[in-house]
């Protein structure tokens, strides 16, 4: 995970990726990505927060057509591979929007784990965060 497009979104803790955001020190509300203002209580006193890397699938869809710019996967309409998109509800209750590693077998409520995946074609492909279903036998 040394080629992340947005390195501030993810940190490695004990070898596992975790999402990084903010927590409002006044009301406790959490945010992803990190921000400078709390839209709940209007405080500007926010601290960095480790949001974790586990959750459950809250909603999902599949991106079935090649998005226009600013999407920059390097694909064309002929080699575009549909990708999953969903909201994953983290243990803190925040629901984070993410690419999903699967486009089939997605079910609301299924356990999900954070991963880092390439989203751009080519050997120097940029990476981004994504969520993957947690399968039996996998940690």
């Amino acid at each position: 995970m040394n080629n992340l497009l947005a390195p501030h979104l993810v940190a490695l803790v004990d070898g596992a990726p975790r999402l990084m955001g903010s927590r409002c020190t006044a009301c406790g509300e959490r945010y992803f990505p990190a921000c400078r203002g709390c839209t709940r209580c209007c405080s500007t006193d926010l601290a960095p927060a480790d949001l974790g890397g586990r959750g459950s699938l809250w909603s999902w869809t599949v991106q079935g057509f090649l998005p226009k710019a600013p999407y920059d996967s390097g694909e064309t309409a002929s080699d575009f591979a549909p990708y999953g998109v969903g909201y994953v509800e983290l243990s803190c209750g925040l629901k984070v929007e993410a690419r999903l590693t699967e486009v089939e077998g997605l079910v609301i409520g299924m356990p999900m784990a954070l991963v880092v995946v390439p989203y751009r074609k080519g050997s120097s492909g940029l990476q981004t965060y994504a969520f993957s279903p947690v399968t039996e036998g996998r940690p």
Binding site: L5, Q63, P70, V85, T128
Partner: protein
């Protein structure tokens, strides 16, 4: 009654695609149609608010219509542009800024889904570059969650779209004038599941214009007034589930549709059961299902019964999107909300032809919703 504002003229340039005609020209044609409807001249218009998303500055309409020196304010409120322009004209007329006010919207979008720029919405670049910033994804994600939470069947998405195209076929100025079967809709290409091709509206072109005056001046300017009982817009609260949201708060809040709708019913002094004809934002058929409940016309989850019993059809209790809505008309963003207002005016004047709601409808309702969490509602009365 002195504070009441009346709509005294409406005009449209048909929605669709019009090669060789700019968006601005389509806006000017809509204004000319509204002036003809009201029997007024452009030189009599004393204040104007208007906008487009992709077709230029509304105040440039004066270059086509006449340079009269009046105040012309450009509005850029996404899908709520028309509703915001209308609400602004109502305020300006009430304040005595002019005797006749114009709300106008027009647009001409490139083909295909909108491609928003993250910086315009206060978002970081990665959100767009990694393929998360698409309005169609949001509508699919909200619909997917809604169907799950309220145990509604996916079949309703095709049912709602089927009614839209059936009504569009009855509407001379609609873009899509061919009825589609439920099977054709349910088997059309998957765009963002559970939503398919014929369940989404398309960005389009067109213009819409509405002329207004104070109650005291209605006799002077003639016409058949339609009274504006409420015209307002609202933005989102913390926690509502909105388009372009990298994350959602743990506690979900009511959408701006809910807050705009409640405020409008309160301002008008009427309730959902009093409304005789309804236009709801149907960017996709999932949105329409959700908006029936968010605007107070049924309980969440009740849509299954409503649609299966045909209660949202033109001849039934809750006639929704009588002109085919965004699905059949397409969505020129700047003009879309005013198209709804015009459709309700035509219904209340009993000029809606083959799609006319039976009897004498007295109250009509319009609703738009869009990025980044805005909604505008009007309640109109004969």
């Amino acid at each position: 009654m002195t504070d009441d504002i009346a709509i005294i003229g409406v005009g449209m340039h048909p929605f669709g695609r019009h090669d060789g005609l700019s968006g601005l020209e389509q806006g000017a044609l809509a204004v000319r149609a509204a002036l003809a409807d009201a029997g007024l001249a452009w030189s009599q218009v004393g204040v104007a608010y208007g906008g487009s998303q992709d077709a230029g500055n509304a105040d440039a309409l004066a270059n086509l219509l006449g340079l009269t020196g009046m105040p012309f304010i450009n509005v850029a409120n996404g899908c709520a542009t028309g509703g915001s322009a209308l609400a602004s004209v109502v305020s300006a007329l009430r304040a005595g800024a002019a005797d006749i006010g114009l709300a106008v919207g027009f647009d001409k979008h490139p083909r295909g889904a909108f491609n928003a720029r993250p910086a315009d919405w206060g978002l970081e670049e990665w959100y767009g570059r990694t393929g998360l910033m698409l309005t169609t994804q949001f509508f699919a994600l909200k619909t997917q969650r809604y169907l799950h939470e309220h145990r509604l069947s996916e079949d309703l998405l095709a049912l709602a779209a089927e009614r839209a195209f059936r009504n569009g076929a009855l509407t001379p100025h609609a873009w899509r004038r061919q009825a589609l079967s439920r099977e054709e809709i349910a088997e059309s290409a998957v765009v963002n599941p559970p939503l398919r091709k014929y369940m989404f509206c398309n960005p389009a072109e067109g213009g819409a214009a509405v002329l207004m005056c104070r109650a005291a001046d209605v006799a002077r300017f003639g016409g058949r007034p339609i009274w504006i009982k409420a015209a307002l817009m609202r933005t989102r609260h913390h926690g509502s589930f909105e388009v372009f949201s990298p994350s959602l708060a743990p506690m979900q809040a009511a959408s701006p549709t809910v807050t705009a709708s409640r405020a409008a019913f309160e301002a008008a002094g009427v309730g959902p059961s009093d409304i005789n004809v309804i236009q709801l934002q149907d960017t996709d058929s999932g949105s329409e299902l959700i908006h029936i409940a968010e605007n107070g016309f049924c309980e969440h989850g009740e849509q299954e019964r409503l649609l299966r019993r045909g209660e949202t059809e033109i001849g039934a209790r809750l006639p929704i999107n009588t002109d085919g809505g965004c699905l059949a008309n397409g969505e020129p963003v700047g003009a879309s909300g005013l198209r709804q207002v015009i459709e309700v005016c035509l219904q209340l004047r009993r000029q809606a032809g083959a799609r006319q709601v039976p009897g004498q409808p007295r109250l009509g309702y319009t609703h738009v919703y869009g990025a980044p969490g805005v909604s505008a509602v009007t309640i109109l009365q004969t």
